[in-house]
Symmetry: C2
Subunit: 352 residues, 2 copies
């Protein structure tokens, strides 16, 4: 028998393309069109490269404390990781350990079922309604844990704190994870519920609103108990994950709050403007509170529009999946980029 | 029932302390006493912080290609990760999937059994002989895979390529992983065997010989098949792990070969000098080919020496484990640091 017979086989996830050439308008991975806070540049130039000979701080104290201060929490209520994927994966491993199925929406972030399979966690998907909204009653059945993004991906639909609190009230016996990757684009975070529900874990990322996808920083906030359990599992499998540049330079993306608010406001203004233009061209979409719009055209197939945009050097995202195969997820870029997209869509819809 | 009843509980690994104050001689985590290659400083200053708004290259092409060129391999034979812990953990998940027990030494790197437990992989430890050497016959029983460090940690014992090849010959049906974290301090890498054995995975790190523990870069080399399987599993669980600074700036630690060879030579020269001094003070140790010496004293207990050194602001590593509880693992620092250690040990042994 060959060694190959014993290898775990997996189908790799295909993320949105990262084209290397220039001239492409890249609106396919929900990156921020604006650079990180200018202080980040200064911290790179000041970085003490000699310190790299040492292992990084296992507790990532500097960035953890900066986040705790920003969100008015204690540092013991914050956990950091190498992107929110790393944080979420660790949270699945730690908290979804009952053997009962966990619950998440049918249309949602693509990695939830992957991590469930990885750690042998059974799961059950809860269909969103026709408007892609969560049906809270579905989350009141017996379960081993709950996770959903808010706003949801890839729909952009934002659910209210009242809905989240209803789900929390019905589920004191399991951990509820709210994945707030896109919360800074107009939604209200449920961080305020942490003090009331010690089983609520809120996960956020530097990859979208903080313009730092390249740095790989994600974080979770919750009760001291939750964070302690998460840290114990994390430190039992890997002592050193977040590297020194992330720990030290990432702090500036938290510290410069006016830049953060200004760029988020610009993205939201662009998004609202583009919503109006898309409507005029015959597109419909759930009302997005994220840095993307999940839109379909009344008559032209999603795949066709995707390809026509690609032929014009505009990359957006399209999935050939049930319920959403007519939709395109268009990241909100700069005003100039979005003008180019709208012009291209005007051509495409006029020619169809 | 409380949500806490369903949490996975783990005992966190306690790595060697990372003291924050100065004045401590830190020889407890096998860090390199010399800074990274000077070009690393330049790359930090030149780093385009604006690019951080984008996700990093999922394939980590720049650093993968630099490593492939350095080791005369094709880029398709190199896999990179966030430190060798990340690489090894992914290799356990990918290759040790048969359900049969994997084999590794009884005295070895502390995370092998942790990852085996994490992924539900059965394992069997193979006792080293009295001189802490591998007994090859033990690795010729039926198994689901093999892993050992060479040189071994924490003993520093180096095994020859002949021994490794004997183990490979006896195990064509499983993947054999050689963890070469310390290979650049005087051992000969088994990279040359990759072309002959498509089931051999060689894992190395930037944390020791390349002075970049703070950057978290590890890598694996093997046949194209092995690396493809590893990538497929990695990309099925997380698309973006190695951040941009590691991918771009890490390259310099590979490119500057003369600096690399010079610092490794300095560390080896210091190590050989200190070996003689330790012998004079009544210490015995296996002959180390790593950047540490694993030593015990003829009459003074290991724990006592550890504490006496700590009282003098010198941190080394001691484990209260079977077979090795009289030993100290002393990282090889600069000549000045090692003079301070030898002087302290002279005092301690004289007063005992």
């Amino acid at each position: 028998m060959s060694w190959e017979a014993n290898v775990k086989r997996a189908v790799p996830y295909v993320p949105g393309e990262q084209p290397k050439g220039s001239g492409v308008i890249k609106l396919n991975t929900n990156e921020n069109p604006y650079p990180p806070a200018p202080g980040v540049d200064r911290l790179f130039k000041e970085f003490s490269y000699q310190s790299l000979r040492l292992y990084p701080d296992t507790g990532s104290a500097r960035i953890t404390e900066a986040l705790a201060a920003y969100y008015h929490l204690d540092a013991s209520q914050v956990f950091v990781g190498v992107g929110s994927d790393d944080v979420l994966s660790m949270a699945f491993l730690t908290f979804f350990h009952s053997g009962r199925p966990i619950l998440f929406p049918d249309i949602t972030y693509s990695f939830y079922d992957v991590w469930a399979d990885l750690y042998g966690i059974p799961y059950k998907v809860c269909p969103l309604d026709e408007d892609f909204r969560i049906v809270p009653g579905q989350y009141m059945q017996k379960n081993g844990g709950i996770i959903f993004p808010n706003p949801n991906a890839p729909t952009g639909v934002y659910e209210t704190l009242e809905l989240i609190e209803d789900i929390l009230k019905a589920n004191p016996d399991v951990v509820v994870i709210v994945d707030e990757a896109y919360i800074d684009f107009g939604g209200e975070s449920c961080i305020g519920l942490i003090s009331k529900y010690d089983n609520l874990l809120v996960v956020q990322t530097f990859s979208k609103s903080r313009s730092m996808a390249g740095m790989r920083i994600g974080f979770a906030m919750g009760s001291q108990k939750l964070i302690r359990y998460l840290n114990e599992v994390k430190f039992s499998v890997n002592s050193y994950t977040m590297n020194m540049p992330s720990q030290i330079i990432g702090v500036e993306a938290v510290r410069d709050d006016s830049y953060f608010k200004e760029t988020n406001a610009k993205i939201m203004a662009t998004r609202e403007r583009v919503k109006g233009q898309l409507k005029e061209l015959g597109f419909t979409f759930p009302d997005s509170k994220a840095n993307f719009i999940f839109a379909r055209h009344a008559s032209i197939p999603g795949k066709k529009i995707f390809e026509e945009l690609k032929a014009r050097n505009i990359l957006v995202r399209h999935w050939g999946k049930d319920r959403i195969n007519q939709y395109l997820r268009i990241t909100v870029g700069t005003d100039e980029q979005m003008d180019a997209v709208v012009n291209a869509l005007r051509e495409i819809t006029a020619n169809a």
